[in-house]
Each structure stands twice: as structure tokens, then as C-alpha cells.
């Protein structure tokens, strides 16, 4: 084995595993000493096993395999995220190209941006009178902003030279948008899309907790109420792994566009 190969193995596998075992050890120590209500790692695995080995099983409305719950959550996130992108991208483009629009709407965006999902959800319930659209509304409201701001930044960062090319050739507004503005801003936009997806996934737990909808967040809250704490940990791990996977996928797409 060459030196660089062993180095790769060490940094790519052994050290991350070491980190994971360290945290699990800390968890085991905590549960066996001062936080006795916290289930141990072994107990968590035992109780969670049926949900992991039969991940798509449906035994009841609130008793389903973990991937089945994840799937419900992903669908919900996809809906909210799609709305966020569909509204956020044109909004960002407008902010990027128009100083008037920026002056009019930037302050209100800066005010709405830091509002927590826990605050949007009740408003969504008031507006839509149903938990499902309220949850999607919350996801959209919270995850839109990175897309808006990065798209605007992307458009503003387009070198004047590119726009001069469009002007000299007298490209139409539409052609300038599709042939120059969008391709030039695309790398920034994808950064926004990736950050938005991260937030959308972050919000899902809060949305499902408060609406009691079936999904990984709803399951977490229900099991807390049912005193099955092992499943809380199962849910946390699932949420983390899925969020990480989503981010990696977006990162790969983003990198392709940046390389182009």
C-alpha cells in the first residue's frame, strides 16, 4: 500500500469512525451515570431494530418503519422547497437587477428572514385552517431566503463585461436573461438552493411536531409523549443522516455547475 493510500484510509475512514465511537462512548457514559432516563446506545438499537430492519413496514398510522416516515417527510419538504424555489428565484432576480425593487423590498425581507418556523406555523394554521398546507407554508417561508439572497447576489456579481456583450449585440431582454444573466448567476443560485434545502429539512421537524403529521418529526414527538425515548434518538440520527445526504447531493450538483 502506498503512503497516500494509507493516508486516505486514515483520514477518510478511521478518523471519522473514531469520532463517531467517541460520541457514542460519551452517550453511553452519560446514560449510565447522571442522566438515567436517557436510553443507552445498546438499548436504543434494541428498541429501534424493528423500525430499521423493516424500514417500510406499516403497522398503524403512527407505527411505521423509519424510512417510510422519512419518505413522508421528504415529500412534505419537497413541496415546501419547490414553492420556495419557484418564488425565491424570480424574487432574487428582481432584487438583483432592479435598484427600485431592492429599495422597496430588501428591508421587509431582512425582517422576515430571521423569523423562526415555530412562529410561522401558527400563522399558517390560521390562514389555511389545515395542518398539511400550514406545514408546507412554513417550510417555504423559512427556506426561501438563501435562494432569494444568493440569486440577487449572483445577478449583482455579473461582470459588467458580460452585460456589455449583450448590449453591443442588442440581445433582447429575454435572450439577455436566458443566455447571459442566468448562466452567469447559476453558481450563486445553486449555493442558495443548497442552503435552502438544508433549512427546509431543518424546519420539517418543527412543522410535524406541532401539526402531528406522520413523518420523522411527528414520530419523534409522538414517541416522546409515549415515553419511548429510544425512538427520539433513532429519529435524531435519521434526520441527521438524511440532511447530510441531501446536502452532499446538492453539493455535487453545485460543483458541476461551478466547474462548467
Amino acid at each position: 500500500m502506498t503512503k497516500s493510500n494509507s493516508d486516505k484510509l486514515l483520514k477518510g475512514l478511521l478518523l471519522p469512525l473514531l469520532g463517531i465511537f467517541f460520541v457514542i462512548g460519551l452517550w453511553a457514559l452519560t446514560s449510565s451515570t447522571w442522566a438515567s432516563a436517557l436510553p443507552s446506545p445498546a438499548r436504543t438499537w434494541e428498541v429501534s431494530r424493528p423500525y430499521i430492519v423493516a424500514p417500510f413496514e406499516k403497522r398503524g398510522e403512527l407505527d411505521q418503519g423509519i424510512l417510510r416516515f422519512t419518505w413522508y417527510s421528504l415529500i412534505r419538504v419537497a413541496k415546501g422547497y419547490a414553492i420556495a424555489i419557484l418564488i425565491g428565484t424570480p424574487l432574487g432576480l428582481l432584487l438583483g437587477v432592479s435598484k427600485w425593487f431592492t429599495s422597496s423590498f430588501d428591508p421587509i425581507i431582512q425582517i422576515l428572514r430571521p423569523v423562526s418556523p415555530l412562529a410561522w406555523l401558527p400563522l399558517g394554521l390560521v390562514i389555511f385552517q389545515k395542518p398539511e398546507p400550514a406545514g408546507i407554508f412554513t417550510i417555504a417561508m423559512c427556506s426561501m431566503w438563501p435562494t432569494v439572497l444568493n440569486t440577487a447576489l449572483g445577478v449583482r456579481s455579473i461582470p459588467q463585461d458580460y452585460l456589455n456583450v449583450a448590449r453591443v449585440l442588442q440581445l433582447s431582454k429575454r435572450k439577455t436573461l436566458f443566455r447571459v444573466l442566468l448562466p452567469a448567476a447559476l453558481p450563486y443560485m445553486f449555493t442558495g438552493f443548497r442552503l435552502s434545502l438544508g433549512i427546509a429539512w431543518l424546519v420539517i421537524v418543527a412543522a410535524e411536531m406541532l401539526t402531528g403529521a406522520p413523518g420523522v418529526g411527528g414520530f419523534l414527538w409522538q414517541e416522546y409523549n409515549a415515553l419511548i425515548y429510544e425512538h427520539i434518538i433513532l429519529c435524531i440520527i435519521t434526520i441527521g443522516v438524511v440532511g447530510f445526504a441531501l446536502d452532499r447531493v446538492m453539493w455535487l450538483i453545485e460543483r458541476r455547475f461551478k466547474a462548467a
Partner: protein, 281 residues
């Protein structure tokens, strides 16, 4: 009869934190059809602003610009521009960069004719072998050729070159200088070249016009270059006409910057002729 390219009493200033700065003042220019004119001046004296007004990207505060008898009110495909930093779109290939221009200006032609035209200009600048590469995969000289091909492909009346070779190494520069002259002779376009290299101006142009040091820069007296073409890089240095033109332009530029400096009550720096030749420094 009025000139093909004409600037009459053109002035332009820009706002700065310390008030309006006059960049160009009372610029007058007349260029005949098919003529190759070089405008030389210090960096930052407003050369690019001058060219941008010819291109229609910048509107003059006062005075008028006209090309082929028509008043310039905005950019248009009758004037091809090669920008200082090439301005290629990095997500398009060489072919696509040129095709963007061709497809826009010759939208009425059938697709096959447009493709042929694009091919023609890519080949004209000797980039046929690299037509599917993106600008990021090209050397500076190759990128510059793409920019030239794009500017020529729309068959403009006037070709505006803004320090097109400024960022290139000396060898590539010499090659492209020869190429620009070849293309000019092959197409018979009117060419306006902005440069800070007097030698380059003398090598290529029919006439060379100095732009005085800014602010409130203006064009000095034009000097006709009576050197037979094709002009040879090496032979040029010893040509008496070359020396004459060069010293005339140099004297004018030196004088304009000395005047500027004494107007600001500063000590004139000792300048050698060599330092002036590299005006950018």
C-alpha cells in the same frame, strides 16, 4: 463630405465622492472609411471611455458621435467591439461565443448559413482546432482571437479594439499584431485601436493620435504614418519615419502630462524617453 466616424466637441465626466471629474473634454475626431487609426495615451486618461462612447455603451455629456452619417445613440452591431479583457462568456465554447453574435445579428439567415459564417470566422483567427473548447481552457492569446472573431463575425462597419493585446506576453503580442493587420487588409474594415503602446500604434495604423493626460483629456494632432506595408517589426525600429512619429507622439504626451503636473503645482518627474514608451507603467 463628413467623415465616416466622427466625434464633435465630445465631453464626458464621472461623479466621484469629491465631485464631478471631467475625463474627456472637447474631443474631436474624424476617420475615413477603411482607415486604421490608433489612439495612444496614458493609462487612466480616458481611452476606454472614448471607445465606449464610439461603441454607444457610454453617452457623452456634450457633443456628438456619428458613424456612417448616423448619430450614435446606443450600442449596435454596426460597431464590433473587442474589449480589453476579452469578455467571452465562460460557459460557452469558442464556437458558441461566436455563434451567439452571429445568430443574433443574422437571425434571418437559415441555420446552415449562420453555422457556416460562424465556422468561417473561427477559422479566420486560426482557432478551428479549438472551437469546442471553453475560454477557461484557452491561453490569453487564443481568447483574444475569439474576441476578435466574435467582433468581426457580425460584419460591422467599424471595428473598435480596446487595448486588445495589453494582457499578452511580447511574443504572442507580435503574432497577433501581424494577424490584426492581416485581417484588416483582408476585410477592409475601418479600425480604431486603443493602446498604450506607441510602437504598436505605429506598426499597425495609418494615423496615430495621442490622447493627452487626464483629467480633461483631449486628442492631440494626428500624425500620419507614411511607412509602406507590410511593416516589419525588426526593420521598423531603424526606419527614420518610425523614429520621427514616435518622438512626435512622445513629445506631445510628455508635454501634456508635464502641463498637468505643473498645473497641480507638483515637481515634474525626470522622464526618459524609455519610460514614456511604456506609458502604462
Amino acid at each position: 463630405m463628413s467623415a465616416f466616424v466622427e466625434m464633435r466637441g465630445v465631453s464626458k465626466g464621472f461623479d466621484s465622492p469629491s465631485g464631478r471629474v471631467p475625463v474627456l473634454a472637447d474631443v474631436n475626431l474624424e476617420i475615413a472609411r477603411g482607415e486604421f487609426v490608433a489612439i495612444v495615451g496614458y493609462s487612466g486618461s480616458g481611452k476606454t471611455t472614448l471607445l465606449s462612447m464610439l461603441a454607444g455603451l457610454v453617452t457623452p455629456d456634450a457633443g456628438s458621435v456619428s458613424v456612417a452619417g448616423k448619430l450614435v445613440t446606443g450600442p449596435g452591431p454596426d460597431r464590433g467591439v473587442v474589449f480589453q479583457n476579452y469578455s467571452l462568456l465562460p460557459w460557452l465554447t469558442v464556437f458558441e461565443n461566436v455563434a451567439l453574435a452571429v445568430d443574433q445579428v443574422f437571425a434571418r439567415e437559415p441555420a446552415a448559413a449562420r453555422r457556416e459564417r460562424t465556422e468561417h470566422y473561427v477559422n479566420l483567427v486560426n482557432l478551428g482546432h479549438a472551437k469546442d473548447r471553453k475560454p477557461g481552457q484557452l491561453s490569453g492569446g487564443m481568447r483574444q482571437r475569439v474576441a476578435v472573431a466574435r467582433a468581426l463575425s457580425i460584419d460591422p462597419e467599424v471595428l473598435l479594439l480596446d487595448e486588445p493585446l495589453g494582457a499578452l506576453d511580447a511574443l504572442t503580442r507580435a503574432v497577433l499584431q501581424t494577424e490584426i493587420e492581416r485581417i484588416w487588409r483582408a476585410t477592409g474594415k475601418t479600425v480604431i485601436l486603443i493602446t498604450n503602446d506607441i510602437d504598436e500604434g505605429i506598426l499597425l495604423a495609418d494615423r496615430i493620435i495621442p490622447l493627452s493626460a487626464g483629467p480633461s483629456a483631449t486628442l492631440g494632432p494626428a500624425v500620419a504614418i507614411e511607412i509602406a506595408r507590410p511593416r516589419e517589426h525588426k526593420a521598423l525600429n531603424r526606419h527614420p519615419e518610425f523614429k520621427h512619429v514616435r518622438s512626435t507622439i512622445t513629445q506631445y504626451l510628455l508635454g501634456s502630462s508635464a502641463k498637468r503636473r505643473s498645473a497641480r503645482k507638483e515637481q515634474p518627474l525626470p522622464l526618459t524617453e524609455r519610460a514614456v514608451v511604456e506609458l502604462g507603467a
